[in-house]
C-alpha cells in the first residue's frame, strides 16, 4: 500500500472512550472507511469510521486503545473500506485475525484487493447446492448429509471433541464420483487458545493438508474487536479461492461463541440497547452476513462450504448463540455429552441434528434411491426408542411391551454400532449396510416409512448380503 502523506491527520483527537476515538474531521472521509490510528508509541491500530458529521467523526478501533493520548495520536486515512490483498500464495500460510502474515514468511504477492465485507450474492445467481460430500461419518452421511455450498455448524460444548470431528471431516471429505477437483481448507480460529490452534495445525499437517490450507488465527490473547474481523478475512480468502481460483473450499470457523461474546462487548461499548442476554438486537443480521457467505454461484466452478463450530454455553441449545445460528444455517450437527462419556466417537446426538439441504443431494441420481427412506426410518425408530427409554426409566423394562423392548435393543445397537465408528471412516454403502442391519431387529409392522419393496430387498434375506 502506498503511503499518502496528505491523508495524515495529527492533533485531531478530542476524546477517547473505550474503543471509540472522537476526532475533528479535517479531510473528506466516508462512512465505514478504514483508518489507522497511530499512537505516540508508533503502534498502528486498525479502525473504521463509525459516524461522520460536518465537523467531527467517530472512529471505532479494532484493537485496544490503551496507551493512546489525545495530543500525540495521528490518524491515517486509507480512503476505502477495510480490504484484504489476496493472491494464489495464501495457501499454506498462517495469518493473524486481521490478515497479516504471522508465520515469519514474506508477505503474500497480491493479485487482487477486496473489501472484507464481501458482496451479497444475488440469490437468483446462486447455484443450488446438491453435490453430496462423503465425510466418512455414518451419522452425517446417512442421516444428515452435507452438500457443497452448505453451511452446517457443529453445536458442541466445552470438552467435546468438536475440533477432532471438524478435522476428520476436512481430511476425509470427498465426492463419491471420485473426481479430483482443486480444493482448499480455510481455518479461522476466533479467540482460540494457542495450544488448540497449534493442535489444529499439527493434525492438518499430519493429514498432509497443510499445503492446501490458509490459517487465520485470532488467539485468545488478541483484542476482542479483532475477533469480529477474523471470520471476515477468512471468508474473503475463501471466496477468492472459490470464485476466482475455482477451488472447492471448506471453511472451518471455531469458535463462534467467542465471536458473539466479542460482538456483545463491542455493542455494549457503543452504548446500544441490548436484546436477549445482553447480545445486541442485530446479532441475527450480523451472523447472517457471515454464514450467508457460503454457497455456489452459477457459471463459476468453485464453492464455499462452511462448518462453523460453536460451544453452547451450559450445553443450552436455546441460548441466543445456537438459536440464532440455527435459524440461519442449513441445519446443525449436535454433539451429545452422554454419548461422549460412553466413549462413543463421533458423539453425534442424532435427534437434534439436521441437514436441510440433504434432500437435494441424496436419493435417485445422487446417492442411492433408498437412502431417503432409510434415513427417515432410522430417525423414526430412534425417536421412538427415546420415548421408550423415558417409559422404561419410570416403569422399568418389565412394564414394556415386547415390541418396545426390541426398540430398546435397537437404540443400544444404533449408538454403539452406527453412531460410534471404532472401525474408522466408512463409505456411504458401508454406513447404509449397518443401518439396514439394525432395522432387521425390528418387527416389519413397525417400519411404516419403508415400502414393501424395500422391506423385501433389504430386510428379509440377511444371508444374501454377507
Amino acid at each position: 500500500m502506498t503511503v499518502q502523506a496528505d491523508l495524515f491527520c495529527a492533533d485531531a483527537v478530542t476524546r477517547i472512550e473505550g474503543p471509540l476515538v472522537f476526532a475533528r474531521r479535517r479531510v473528506e472521509v466516508g462512512l465505514n472507511e478504514a483508518v489507522e490510528v497511530i499512537g505516540a508509541d508508533g503502534r498502528v491500530r486498525l479502525g473504521r469510521v463509525a459516524a461522520v458529521d460536518e465537523a467531527f467523526m467517530t472512529i471505532e478501533t479494532l484493537e485496544s486503545t490503551s496507551g493512546l493520548t489525545l495530543a500525540g495520536t495521528r490518524i491515517r486515512f486509507v480512503g476505502e473500506p477495510v480490504t484484504f490483498s489476496l493472491g494464489p500464495g495464501i495457501l499454506g500460510r498462517v495469518f493473524d485475525g486481521v490478515g497479516r502474515v504471522l508465520d515469519g514468511g514474506p508477505p503474500v504477492a497480491a493479485r487482487t484487493r477486496v473489501s472484507i465485507d464481501g458482496a451479497i450474492i444475488n440469490p437468483m445467481r446462486r447455484a443450488k447446492p446438491e453435490d453430496f460430500i462423503e465425510t466418512g461419518i455414518s451419522a452425517i452421511d446417512t442421516l444428515d448429509s452435507l452438500v457443497r455450498g452448505q453451511k452446517l455448524p457443529i453445536f458442541s460444548g466445552g470438552g467435546l471433541p468438536h475440533n477432532r470431528l471438524a478435522v476428520d471431516i476436512a481430511l476425509h471429505a470427498r465426492l463419491r464420483s471420485g473426481k479430483s477437483e482443486p480444493f482448499a481448507i480455510v481455518f479461522a480460529g476466533i479467540g482460540v487458545p494457542y495450544d488448540q490452534a497449534e493442535a489444529f495445525r499439527k493434525s492438518l499437517e499430519a493429514g498432509g493438508a497443510l499445503g492446501h490450507t490458509a490459517l487465520f488465527l485470532n488467539l485468545a490473547s488478541d483484542s476482542s474487536a479483532q475477533r469480529l474481523l477474523t471470520p471476515r478475512f477468512a471468508l474473503t480468502a475463501a471466496e477468492y479461492l472459490a470464485y476466482v481460483e475455482g477451488r472447492h473450499v471448506l471453511v472451518i470457523i471455531t469458535d463462534m461463541t467467542n465471536y458473539c461474546e466479542a460482538l456483545r462487548e463491542v455493542s455494549a461499548s457503543h452504548g446500544e440497547i441490548p436484546s436477549r442476554k445482553g447480545y445486541p438486537g442485530y446479532m441475527y443480521s450480523d451472523l447472517a452476513t457471515l454464514y450467508e457467505r457460503a454457497g455456489r454461484i452459477q457459471g463459476r466452478p468453485g464453492s464455499v462450504t462452511q462448518i462453523p463450530i460453536l460451544t453452547m454455553p451450559a450445553d443450552d441449545i436455546t441460548h441466543p448463540i445456537p438459536d440464532l445460528t440455527g435459524y440461519i444455517t442449513e441445519g446443525q450437527i449436535t454433539l451429545d455429552r452422554k454419548l461422549d462419556r460412553a466413549g462413543v466417537y463421533p458423539p453425534i446426538g442424532v435427534l437434534p441434528s439436521l441437514s436441510r439441504l440433504m434432500k437435494d443431494g441424496i436419493g435417485e441420481g445422487f446417492t442411492h434411491p433408498d437412502h431417503p427412506a432409510l434415513a427417515n426410518q432410522l430417525y423414526a425408530a430412534y425417536a421412538r426408542t427415546m420415548g421408550v427409554r423415558l417409559l422404561a426409566g419410570v416403569v422399568g423394562a418389565e412394564g414394556l411391551t415386547p415390541t418396545d423392548r426390541l426398540f430398546l435393543e435397537f437404540g443400544k445397537q444404533f449408538e454403539s454400532r452406527f453412531v460410534a465408528q471404532p472401525d474408522g471412516a466408512r463409505t456411504l454403502e458401508e454406513s447404509m449396510a449397518v443401518g439396514w442391519e439394525l432395522l432387521r431387529g425390528l418387527p416389519e409392522t413397525e417400519l411404516a416409512r419403508l415400502s414393501d419393496e424395500q422391506i423385501k430387498r433389504y430386510l428379509r434375506k440377511p444371508a444374501a448380503d454377507g
Partner: protein, 588 residues
Amino acid sequence: MNEAAIRWISGPVLRAVTRDPFRIHEAVHVGAKGVLGEVIRLHGEEITVQLFEDGTGLKPGDPVQGQEAPLSVRLGPGLLGNIFDGLLRSLSGEGRDFLLPGRFLLPAGRFHLTPLVEPGRILKGGDPFAEARLAPDAHAAQLCLVPPDRAGEVVTMAGRGEYADDEPVLTLRDGQGRNLQVAMSHSWPVRVPRPVAKRLPVDPPLLTGQRILDCLFPVARGGKAMVPGGFGTGKTVLLETIAKWCDAEVIIYLGCGERGNEMAGVLDEFPRLEDPKTGRPLMERMVVIANTSNMPVAAREASVYTGITVAEYFRDQGLRVALMADSTSRWAEALREVSGRLGELPGEGGYPAYLSTRLAEFYERAARVTTLSGKNGSLTVMGAVSPPSSDFSEPVTIHTKRYVRNFWALDRKRAQARFYPAIDPISSYSEDADVLALWWSKQGAPAWAAQRRRFLTLLEEQTRLERMARILGKDALPPGQRLTLLCAELINDGFLRQSAFSVKDRYASPRKQIRMMGLLTRFMERAEAAVGSGVAVERIAALPILRRLQRMGEDIAEEEYERFDALEQMLEADFGALSGPSGEEKPS
C-alpha cells in the same frame, strides 16, 4: 425535486439539512450511487433518513434527492414468473452475481396489448382496460387496471400491438377536464392498502393438498394463518409445499430475512414443477420476493409491504392470491433494529411499542373482497414466525396470534422423528373450520365435520393416555384405551404424516382426503366394535390392513381410487376374520 445535503451519518441512518418541503415516508436517493432511503423524521430544517442499502462511503455534504412520493413499487404485467428484491427491483439479468447498492434501472418489459375499451367509455379506478400477454398467441393474459386513484372518460386507447409496460397507452379525461396518461403498469405506495369496494366473509377453503391442514386445520380464502416453530421444525418446507400445491391462482412467495440457498432451491425447483390444474410450470403463477438475511435490514422491513402490495394488485384483478411470508419474525427484528437506531423507547423484548399495530395492519390486508371493478378476489396470508428458543410466549408470536384465525404450531419432537408436516395437532387450531364444513359436505363428505371432531378428540385423548402410560406402563391400560392409542398412532402415521418429497404423496386432492378419512373412521368403528365384543387389541394390531392404511398416502396415487375400494374390502375381510373361530376366545 426536493434536495438536501448530508450533515451526519452513522450506519443506516443519516441526517441532512434542507429548505425543501420533504414529506414523511418520502423515498430518497442518496449520494452519487443513488442509494435508496426513506424520510422517517422531520425536525425544522433537518430530515432523518433511513437507508435501505449499505451506505459505505457516504460523507457529509453528499446530496439527498427526494422523489416527492412515498416508497412505491411499479405494478404491472412484468411481475409474474420473476424474482425481485425487497424493494421490487428485478434480480434477474446476466452478470449480476453480486448485489451492489445503488439505483439500477428496471428495463421496461414489452407486452402485447389487447384493448378492452373504446373512446367514450367512462372508467373508474380499478377497472380493467386492456389485456397484456408475453407473446401475441400466449394463452395466459393479465388484466391491466386503471390505477385506483384515477378515473375518467377514455379519450384515446392504443390499438392491438406491442408496447413497453411503462409507455402510456390510455388517455383519460377526468372530471376537471384534465388528461391523464395511463400505462400498463402503475405505481403504488407500499404502505397504503389498495382500496376495495367491499370486504366479504371468508368462505370456500384455500385447498393446500396437505391433509393435516385441509381436514384438521383448514384455512379459508381470504383467511390468515401463522406458522410458528423453532429452527429445524419445517416452516420453510411447509410454506414451500403450500406454495406448490395450493389452489391459488397467484402465489407471492416472500423470503424475508431467510437463506439464500433456499431461495436458490425455490428458483431451481418451481420452474420444473407443473401446476396440477393447468399443466403449466408453477413458476408462471408466482412472484418471488427475496430479501435474504444478509441483505440490508431496512429493506427487509419494507419487503413485507412490497409483497402484500403486489398480492393486492393481483387480488384487484379478481384472482385468488396466496402470500407466504417467511419469516415475519425477521421483519419484526428489522423493526426493532431500526427503532433502536432511532433511539425510540423499547417495549417488550426490545421491540418497539408499535409492533402490535404493525402486525395488525399487515394481517388486516388479507381478505376476500369485491374489487373496485366488481369482481371477487381473495388474498390469503400465511406467515411463518420464528420464536427465539422456540418460546411461544414471545412478543411476535403472541401479538400475531391475536390477529390471525389459524394457528399451525410446529412441534420439535415431531420434527426430530422426521414426522412431517410437524404440525402439533394439540395446540394448533382453525377458526375457519366451522364455516368450511358446508363446502366439504357439498363435495360429498357430509360427515367431514364429525370425522374431523373425532380425529381431534382422539389425538387429544392420546396425549392424556400417554401421560398415564408413563406412570402405569402401557400393559396396565384397559383394552379400550390401548385401542385408542393404536388408532391415534394410525391417524398420525396414515393420515397426518405426508411426505413433501414423494410424488404420490405430496399433494392430496379433496377426494383422496375424503376417502382416507372415511377408511380410517371405518377402521376405528370396526376396531371398537371388535374390542367391545372381546377381541384382544394385539390381534387388531397384527391385522395386515393396518400397514396398508399406514402407507396408503404414499402407496396410492391420485386417480387410483379403485385401490381405496380394494382397501375397504380388505378392511371388512380382516375384521370379518377376527370374529371368526379364533375371535371367540375370551380375553383373560
